[in-house]
Symmetry: C2
Subunit: 337 residues, 2 copies
């Protein structure tokens, strides 16, 4: 937090006027979303939480039903220049090649990854990606995978910011998570990323425990060898938690429909629909990456997972709030950009 | 609660001595498990919770890690004369035959169900059961399935007790659930039953919300027809949450290992192992059905899901607590037997 922001918060708290303006938020700090500029998207979040927590009001939502889902990559932290889990996979391929698979240095699809030839990898298409995911995410126990992720996330650094990836959570979204939880909402991640990958660090980074993380899942097999029980991750996908798979993942893991949904790409279109269409009160929000200086600006011209065309087109008719990152976010990260 | 029990509780509360004996339980009622006789299994539960919630003690478990899993059929409510979900399926077949499938009255496997010929159905084997499950649990939207379960559970009555099935939760286990939650444990169901079936009533019966219910899952597909989003349940199993599938279901849905596990059959063997082997502190408990008068007495000679042989054999070496229902439970149900 910057000195400027701290003193703004202090002043507002001393003045003690803001809480009185918002029923049901008496226990909140004066401004629960200080990293947001005063703008329609900020007011939409505050208003929705206020009306759904105002007992006796027409839009009151019982605490039991206060469920909010968040996409991860591009919504809670960046997905540029590559989704971080892809960087993890590439780093793993390099480490495995060095330690036990020297032949990968001359074998595709591994050669392109080891050589840093991203274009070559993309040209190889989906089968290459599937093979990459299989060797880095499966064929080991959950304990082994947990350790590789834990070791990687503790040491890897983002190329642009030269900081651990876990430092890159968006400050405005951390504030939304905390604000919702303070108002009785349960917060869940619903991401195309691997569930087992995210569960290692989601609690530390977002305060979201493993059972509230929904992601792509691989089949597993239980084994008891001697006196050691293990779960082996098999090289077979159980659920691709993206696009139409997101409502499925929500239902399979959470067993109920959310009332709030936050995303940033067409991969989130279906869960935005599932959360909001025909349901009142409900809330959908899209983070639009418009800030080429502090973060990145992209929507149409990007890899498939970050593409934002159809969801943006549907936003006005569906009543979804669109965040203009450049205009709406006073600060993007917890550190000073 | 019977008058006798109420006055026992009142006396103990007035005496005010019990809480002082158990550190970390100061906020509990004098006896948090009044439906249990004073017996080793009751003391094992109380002691484990006391030591794992005593800050600074050698067995303290952080609130974050306090996760307890419970099998459902035979552990939280009865599974005799048939698992209740099987009765639901049979009732559905009869209703569907009457309304839209008259041909089922003369076609197997439906004919045996409609005629109440249980032996005939069993003789037809697993393919018959799979077909029965498919027509009653799949080929419809989650909203449609939810409604059929909701309608059934509101009206169906158990043949022996002539009460709604939702009245049949074991009082001693309801006390354990409440006691654990009061001590910061998150309680989950992990059952071979259908996740979507249980989620309809689990919160009402056990105070367990849908996202804390793990069960057998079917594949699903998202559809947006006109302005109506739906999830269609496909006739293909995604996970059989029984035996070795239980640790898998725990990992896929909850993403972490529990420290307490409660079961009653060999279907729970693997999750008892997964919870306890090589992990300290940890707690495993088996409900042994020994009460032919108030409930049922069975272990070896029963249908596969209720069979208790291997888990009972392993209990002493694994340190699992075995509940003798007849001796240990002062009262079985919330109503007077």
């Amino acid at each position: 937090m910057t000195p400027t922001r701290r003193s703004f918060l202090g002043t507002a708290a001393l003045a003690g006027v803001l809480p009185a303006l918002r029923p049901g938020l008496a226990k909140q700090p004066a401004d629960p979303l200080p990293a947001w500029n005063d703008c329609p998207s900020k007011r939409a979040i505050l208003d929705f939480v206020a009306k759904t927590t105002t007992e006796g009001g027409p839009d009151f939502v019982k605490p039991y039903d206060r469920v909010a889902v968040f996409d991860n990559d591009g919504t809670l932290w960046p997905e540029q220049p590559w989704p971080f889990e892809g960087v993890f996979a590439a780093d793993r391929v390099r480490a495995m090649a060095a330690a036990e698979h020297p032949e990968w240095k001359t074998t595709q699809p591994f050669k392109d990854i080891i050589d840093g030839n991203v274009k070559g990898l993309i040209d190889q298409g989906l089968p290459a990606v599937i093979k990459l995911v299989a060797v880095t995410h499966t064929g080991m126990t959950t304990a082994q995978f947990d350790k590789t992720v834990r070791d990687w996330i503790a040491t890897a650094r983002h190329p642009r910011f030269d900081r651990p990836y876990t430092d890159l959570a968006y400050k405005p979204m951390l504030e939304v998570l905390a604000f919702l939880r303070a108002n009785g909402y349960k917060t869940f991640i619903v991401s195309g990323g691997g569930a087992e990958f995210m569960r290692v660090w989601a609690d530390k980074v977002y305060g979201i425990p493993p059972e509230q993380v929904v992601g792509t899942m691989f089949k597993m097999e239980y084994q008891l060898k001697g006196d050691r029980p293990d779960l082996c991750i098999l090289p077979e996908v159980m659920l691709v938690d993206d696009k139409g798979g997101k409502p499925v993942g929500i239902e399979q893991v959470m067993g109920r429909r959310p009332v709030m949904c936050f995303g940033n790409s067409d991969g989130d279109l279906q869960m935005l629909q599932w959360t909001t269409i025909g349901r009142k009160p409900s809330f959908g929000l899209i983070v639009h990456h418009t800030d080429a200086v502090r973060e990145w600006a992209y929507d149409k011209e990007t890899h498939s997972s970050g593409k934002l065309v159809e969801a943006l087109k549907q936003a006005p008719e569906r009543g979804w709030t669109v965040v203009d990152m450049k205009a709406d976010w006073k600060q993007v990260f917890t550190f000073k950009e």
